[in-house]
């Protein structure tokens, strides 16, 4: 009889599986990307903005785009597990179930960062406003981590429901308001040249949110997925 599978092996197996299935189907990233680009186009055509207004709304547009696209990704990521009973297949494995959670979270984070890496240059081109900076990349990393930490947890709850597509945003959006505020404020600061030390409050808030929700998910995931 083989030994109980280690946390790291299980985690890497789940990440490998999610990346492989996405590589084959391309359903998740293509859905998120098309949606993101459409949102950016719609904002571009619906808001007639001068340069100053554009600078003030850029962070908001980017984060709203990422959050909405992320919801599509989270829903799809869990729907794949539910479709053929695959979630049961994962839960039957003799692994620490939090390894499943972290594996799915990391895969979701990778998908979200890929989408961000594509939409930022598109935004810069379309709005004639270079938004790519180290500060913004840091905020996107921290903000996306917190978002997928809570999003993966809530999507594993919502996937059990028949109305999962509607349920996830209803559960998720109120919970991520603090991260959205911190991410938009920090992003806005970086885009407008505010010094790093003046934005530390928002960065600390993002880090605190990431730590709290990752810890909460670590503690409750097993109970959530159990009938």
């Amino acid at each position: 009889m083989q030994a109980k599978t280690s946390f790291i092996k299980a985690l890497s197996a789940v990440i490998w599986k999610d990346l492989m299935t996405e590589l084959r189907s391309k359903e998740l990233i293509s859905g998120m990307l098309v949606f993101s680009l459409l949102v950016i186009f719609i904002f571009n055509f619906s808001l007639e903005m001068d340069a100053r207004t554009r600078n003030s709304v850029t962070a908001g547009v980017i984060w709203v785009t990422l959050i909405f696209a992320g919801t599509i990704g989270l829903n799809r990521s869990m729907a794949v597990e539910k479709d053929r009973g695959c979630l049961d297949g994962l839960l039957l494995a003799p692994v620490d179930r939090t390894a499943i959670y972290f594996g799915k979270s990391i895969a979701n984070l990778i998908f979200m960062l890929i989408v961000a890496a594509i939409i930022l240059p598109v935004y810069s081109l379309l709005y004639n406003n270079n938004v790519i900076s180290l500060g913004l990349i840091l905020v996107i990393l921290l903000g996306s981590e917190g978002y997928v930490a809570v999003g993966t947890l809530l999507s594993s709850m919502a996937v059990q429901a028949r109305t999962r597509d509607i349920l996830l945003p209803i559960l998720l959006f109120p919970v991520i308001i603090p991260i959205l505020i911190a991410a938009v404020k920090a992003s806005n600061g970086f885009l407008n040249g505010v010094p790093f030390n003046e934005l530390m409050t928002w960065i600390y808030l993002l880090i605190a949110y990431d730590v709290i929700f990752t810890s909460v998910a670590f503690m409750v995931f097993d109970a959530i997925v159990e009938e």
């Binding site: 009889m1 083989q2 599986k17 479709d83 839960l91 494995a93 003799p94 692994v95 009938e227």
Partner: protein, 227 residues
């Protein structure tokens, strides 16, 4: 709902769990497979107790459910590779090749599972379930949706598993098939085991009549209790 259910199976026994729809067969198997938690009572498998030692139990269990628990966008080989990593099999290559040969999918091992017929998916589902050579195999109506040929192949695989001294618990509505597979027949109805009989003790008129007699007696008892 299950109530006062008392069930035990010896090592190497092949138990067919019979009963009408809604009797609680699937719920019972989900509890045994650690996917559902009973409100009260105790479950011991291979000397390990639920829920505290569920990881040890999952290591010793193979489960085939209504759904294939397989990823459609991965090939048969990739699915088995993924689950072998979750079950800590190392090296897994030889075991995967052995399983693919056993279930007769060697030639289609690189094809995506979503291109498989229902019968092929079910064979692969069994391959996934026995990949880690479990002590106990739980099957929930594995013949559902299979044609004669696919059912015969499935029975051949199950016979091989039983011959290796593994304990098998299988729910089914196909009395003709289970009569040739199982060594014991338990009838579950109204939430508990109404009757249990070994194959050598089966009356001459066979399993079908025995099963109908048990159900008829159960209905009479309920009517008498109600009046």
């Amino acid at each position: 709902m299950l109530k006062k259910l008392d069930f035990s199976a010896n090592q190497g026994e092949f138990v067919a769990l019979l009963g009408p729809n809604g009797a609680g067969k699937t719920t019972f198997l989900r509890i045994l497979s650690t996917l559902a938690k009973p409100n009260f009572g105790s479950v011991t498998i291979s000397g390990f107790q639920l829920p505290n030692q569920s990881a040890h139990i999952r290591q010793r269990l193979g489960v085939v459910s209504h759904q294939p628990l397989l990823y459609g966008d991965l090939s048969a080989e990739e699915n088995l590779k993924f689950f072998s990593r979750l079950y800590g099999l190392h090296p897994a290559k030889d075991r995967i090749a052995e399983i693919l040969k056993l279930i007769g999918l060697e030639k289609r091992k690189f094809d995506l599972v979503r291109t498989y017929s229902r019968g092929m998916q079910q064979r692969l589902a069994i391959g996934r379930a026995i990949l880690h050579d479990p002590e106990v195999l739980l099957l929930d109506e594995p013949h559902t949706g299979l044609d004669q040929d696919a059912s015969n192949i499935l029975d051949g695989i199950l016979n091989q598993v039983a011959m290796r001294g593994r304990t098998v618990v299988m729910t089914s509505h196909d009395l003709g098939r289970v009569a040739n597979l199982a060594s014991r027949f338990d009838v579950l109805t109204r939430g508990f085991i109404q009757a249990s009989i070994n194959i050598k003790d089966l009356p001459k008129h066979g399993l079908l009549e025995y099963y109908q007699d048990v159900l008829a007696n159960s209905d009479e008892k309920v009517k008498a209790h109600a009046s």
